[in-house]
Symmetry: C2
Subunit: 139 residues, 2 copies
């Protein structure tokens, strides 16, 4: 029940982009140095965030990355779901459906998985990158 480094690194990279948003193009090299994350690995992660529409890039010399939206319009949930997949604790196709499923795995215990999933998503959907960077402790 752990997040992988993808989600953790990805969120840190996004925070880094917010914090350094006075620069226009922020190079992967600088992010990787500040965050202590391998450049090649971070590249794969940020590439997913780009495809998901949270980051934009400029190629070539003096190129780099920047946020594709305002930090208040990107939630932690957006980032984690892009990198980790859905945040459900089990893979039950019907976890969000009313109807019963045949899988022994679901049904009796399904309500538990759904409540966990809902609570996680509720938390991460209600924290924006802006909230994080401004450091509201009363989030």
């Amino acid at each position: 029940m752990k997040l992988s480094t993808r989600g953790r690194y990805g969120l840190r990279a996004m925070v880094d982009l917010v914090v350094n948003s006075k620069e226009t193009n922020i190079s992967l090299k600088s992010i990787s140095q500040r965050q202590g994350i391998s450049m090649n690995y971070l590249e794969q992660i940020i590439s997913v965030l780009k495809k998901s529409g949270y980051v934009k890039s400029v190629r070539g010399a003096k190129g780099g990355y920047s946020l594709a939206k305002s930090p208040k319009d990107i939630s932690v949930g957006d980032i984690l779901r892009a990198l980790e997949g859905d945040l459900n604790p089990v893979d039950c196709a019907l976890v969000n459906e009313e109807k019963q499923c045949d899988e022994a795995d679901c049904c009796i215990t399904k309500i538990v998985w759904k409540k966990i999933s809902d609570s996680i998503n509720d938390v991460v959907n209600n924290i924006s990158l802006q909230d994080l960077v401004e450091g509201h402790n009363d989030l």
Copy 2:
């Protein structure tokens, strides 16, 4: 961000013990057949639950397992934590402390991990085995 089969199978086995609690000793064989889980694997899982004090056993012929406590005194959280370890989304020793940590991983993003952890634990601590079996949909 998935639970392993240990947590899922373990919870199902515990529910099975509640549902079949009219029997005195419930054999692993019968649980494994009802739940469709390999007996040898289930044995390893139930052994952890026994060591954690949620299940008791009787050896020998006519032996088997039963709950060590009332189903209303065992929460889903007890079971999942016994089998999955803490339910924190990251391994940050200081995630529950007030003070700052040096790890780049924590600190700015720490509040996210703590809120996820708290919300998961809040959900699973407030569902007992009895609640599950009685099927309250308004848990």
